[in-house]
């Protein structure tokens, strides 16, 4: 059996390792387009701040990790797929045959259609090479405009501030991280950033970037203009799936997969940022471009590739955690609430603390938090087990800070060892 994986990110590596665990005699080939050994984009912000060196971003520590696991690594980029013929073609002309294929080609940055984006002082933050370029451009005292205050935008803020760059952030949404945080949480985060000396514009887009040899002028739709030495574009990512045009594979926002992570074409599976899989909260399909989903997708796909679709997936819970200049924010599941549900909230503006819990009947379905970092995982536990909260629901509505107590409380009868 020959399993081929297109991609070398977290989903790909999780799948490759699990395939070898479940089917040790199989041949596993992982095809990666990056020059470096498989690395983690989650770690790039810490590379930018200097907390880790390049090696510190690698998904696996040992230089011979893949060799040792019996995983063959091919450097190349998959450019097309022949489902009936069971082959993929690479950019260099190579063709690789497979028995079962996993598409884990990840995501790519969305480049807004704004004039002036091609100036070399306008920089994405996605690959390791981008991070190296940013480190060169972000000199102390430099003026930087960051376009986009989404997840990536917020997590790299710290590296600017540490580099003593004068930073202005422009977000087209009504608040920072609008797809992860509600109004109060996003507002609190903005206030926090401003208190650290960052200028934040929300509700406005960049109209154009005008360049002179001395500087860039970032023109906003609200009429303001920001002078800049460097512009960083972090306006979100989208699944990297263009190479599938004409392959017959059903795509929507991402590659549509069923509960076994299988695509519409036999023997082809998809996982991670490129996949549109089951959403635990809605029962529909969605792209959850986050690390926990990537690794889960990878492992569930591997189990189904080996076990002939014997492992149905409950769906991924959308969740995220973000540290912006020391303020930790997080979101889980249906944080915006569900129809017929209700909620409990704690808001301590002066302390930059906020918790919002969303319920359906007496089950927790979603949450947002700001300024907390203890026992956050119980939110996942409570949501995914759908454990009835009973009397704890009213207590949590009154005081959401009691989350960890509620978790132990509802589980303690089962945990009791007797």
């Amino acid at each position: 059996m020959h399993y081929v994986i297109a991609g070398a990110g977290p989903a790909a590596v999780a799948a490759a390792e699990h395939l070898k665990e479940l089917d040790p005699s199989a041949k596993v080939t992982m095809i990666g387009a990056q020059q470096q050994p498989p690395y983690s984009r989650m770690a790039i912000p810490y590379y930018l701040t200097g907390k880790v060196k390049e090696e510190g971003t690698y998904l696996r520590r040992a230089a011979n990790h893949y060799e040792e696991k019996g995983i063959e690594f091919v450097h190349g980029e998959v450019v097309s797929l022949d489902g009936p013929g069971h082959t993929v073609s690479l950019a260099d002309g190579q063709t690789i045959g497979y028995d079962k294929l996993l598409l884990a080609t990840g995501a790519e940055p969305i480049i807004p259609p704004v004039p002036g984006m091609d100036d070399p002082r306008v920089q994405q933050c996605w690959h390791l090479e981008d991070a190296e370029r940013i480190i060169e451009l972000a000199k102390p005292g430099a003026r930087a405009v960051q376009v986009g205050a989404g997840f990536i935008g917020c997590i790299i803020l710290e590296s600017w501030v540490l580099r003593e760059v004068n930073l202005t952030v422009v977000e087209m949404g009504p608040r920072m991280v609008p797809r992860m945080l509600g109004e109060k949480a996003g507002g609190l985060l903005q206030k926090w950033c401003e208190s650290k000396g960052v200028t934040v514009h929300t509700n406005t887009r960049v109209q154009s970037i005008e360049s002179t040899p001395e500087e860039l002028k970032v023109v906003l739709e609200n009429g303001e203009t920001c002078a800049a030495d460097v512009v960083i574009v972090s306006t979100g990512v989208k699944p990297r799936i263009a190479y599938l045009d004409g392959s017959g594979i059903t795509v929507d926002q991402g590659i549509v997969v069923d509960q076994h992570m299988q695509t519409s074409v036999a023997d082809v599976y998809a996982a991670g940022d490129c996949a549109q899989g089951l959403d635990f909260s809605t029962g529909e399909t969605a792209v959850h471009a986050v690390q926990p989903t990537a690794t889960e997708h990878g492992r569930v796909a591997a189990a189904n590739m080996v076990g002939n679709n014997s492992l149905p997936y409950k769906g991924s819970l959308n969740m995220n955690i973000l540290d912006t200049l020391g303020l930790v924010t997080c979101s889980f599941g249906a944080w915006e609430g569900v129809e017929g549900g209700d909620s409990g909230e704690m808001f301590n503006e002066g302390n930059y603390q906020y918790i919002n819990l969303q319920f359906k009947d007496d089950v927790l379905v979603g949450a947002n938090s700001v300024g907390y970092h203890e026992h956050l995982g119980v939110l996942r536990g409570l949501i995914e087990t759908q454990v009835p909260l009973g009397a704890w629901k009213e207590r949590l509505k009154k005081n959401p800070v009691q989350l960890a107590d509620a978790y132990v409380g509802v589980n303690q009868s089962e945990l009791k060892v007797s």
Binding site: M42, L59, P292, A303, G377, G381, D405, S418
Partner: protein, 159 residues
């Protein structure tokens, strides 16, 4: 067969000595906020429930870590965090459905129970039988482990 840290709420008096010793072992200070063993009191202290990482098979923290900072100590079976490798991204803290791995802003990395390398200080500190370090097949451990798998909602063996 690895030993397991077995927690027995019925025998816990809520004295918090385990938390004191845990923090001492972790950071060299008696500071309960740095303990990775937690005692939760209910009904004004009538019931006290010890909880910490059960070193579950699923090991959501270890599987999700983007830089392989969490590895299994073969001697104890504990999932241990390398403070040198951890970048502090906190993704494990939301992935663990038990809330048993947490970020420490003072160190900039995550922290969890590592069974103190095979001699848990919390067990040594416990004046009753609420905490014990015993063979995994002893009473109750399997129940806890099943609970761990069930709680995470994933079919066994996938994570």
């Amino acid at each position: 067969m690895h030993k397991a840290l077995v927690m027995e709420a019925d025998a816990c008096t809520g004295c918090h000595q385990c938390e004191m010793m845990c923090s001492y072992g972790k950071v060299g200070a008696f500071n309960i906020s740095k303990s990775v063993m937690d005692i939760t009191a209910f009904d004004g202290g009538a019931l006290n429930v010890p909880s910490t990482c059960t070193q579950c098979e699923g090991a959501w923290c270890m599987v999700v870590c983007p830089v392989q900072a969490i590895t299994v100590n073969p001697a104890t079976g504990a999932k241990e965090v390398s403070a040198e490798v951890c970048v502090g991204c906190k993704v494990c803290t939301i992935a663990c459905p038990f809330g048993a791995i947490n970020y420490d802003p003072d160190s900039g990395v995550v922290t969890k129970c590592d069974l103190c390398g095979g001699a848990p200080m919390c067990v040594e500190a416990c004046p009753t039988t609420a905490l014990a370090y015993m063979a995994e097949d002893s009473t109750g451990y399997e129940k806890m482990r099943r609970h761990a798998v069930m709680s995470a909602g994933l079919p066994e063996g996938t994570a």
